[in-house]
Symmetry: C3
């Protein structure tokens, strides 16, 4: 049994958008109780990650650290000028696969699923596939 | 066919714990011969990665490099003081998906699956879902 | 329904090799129309990532940035001397899971799937498992 869904997100220049509840919704709509859920970001200057959902300073610190780890660099050649964002996208990754167990995504109590915008504002999309029994 | 399992790990302050044999066990218990295995870390200051299992200096060098890449930073605001660990968790990632083929996880001869502790010591858990035929 | 395939790649000293068409081929061979595709790199000094497929300067900038983020470090102890490549492999990751929808991998129009060589030239392999209906 599979269930495919799309989520749309309007982003700011940069930011981490908590999409956990929308993923949980897609899983509940699917009717899958045991299986998995693949989340895919189809953009190359944005990514997906799982991190703390409690203190909003954590995601702020993460964006700050990622700008230190992947700053704009004088020797970048890509004419669009957003290579730093492309690097951050690959550091976070374009996909997340969650376990679905007893009809719910398996997540730690402090975990949230974040869409990471590194080159907005843009209208973004995330694809979701739930598969299992 | 799906099979869900939990693994518990006691960690030190930081370290990379080889959990390959425990993942292989969960796969063999599942009875799945063709399919996949999703491994999920429910913590936000720890992650999962695959890297060399032969020379223990590789994982030591990795922890050292991750501390250089994501050091504690004066401008971090998260009051708990462990933002560097949160960043490292996202750089490694919270999940791994393995191919299961002929009843075994597909891994290179030098590959091990590592639980990466960045903010221990703690009692940690890893979730495993095996799905397939 | 599952379908297992292997892809072989001859690499240069470092580089990002676009393997998208070969992954799409494996998915089409599988006959799966709804499901997912797990791609696994069995090497520990190479990885997999998804990024821009249009301007070749993006992958050049990524390799350059990864060398800045994970340079060779004087304090590395691994005798083989390629710890920087091991770190880059874990930063990119050993695996990618794609959504398969309507018989095709779900990818953004600008996305390509890249095999990232950090310690070549070598003869490399990538494993693919397609699962679904």
């Amino acid at each position: 049994m599979t269930h495919y869904a799309k989520i749309t997100i309007d982003t700011q220049r940069e930011g981490m958008v908590n999409i956990t509840s929308r993923i949980t919704e897609a899983i509940m709509e699917s009717g899958v109780t045991e299986g998995l859920c693949v989340i895919h970001c189809p953009h190359t200057t944005a990514g997906l990650t799982i991190n703390e959902n409690a203190d909003p300073d954590v995601t702020k610190d993460m964006l700050y650290a990622l700008n230190e780890i992947s700053p704009d660099r004088a020797r970048f050649r890509h004419m669009e000028g957003n290579s730093a964002a492309h690097v951050k996208a690959s550091l976070m990754g374009a996909g997340i696969t969650l376990i679905v167990h007893r009809g719910r995504p398996v997540l730690g109590i402090w975990q949230g699923i974040y869409f990471c915008e590194f080159d907005g504002p843009r209208a973004r999309t995330v694809h979701v596939q739930v598969a299992g029994e």
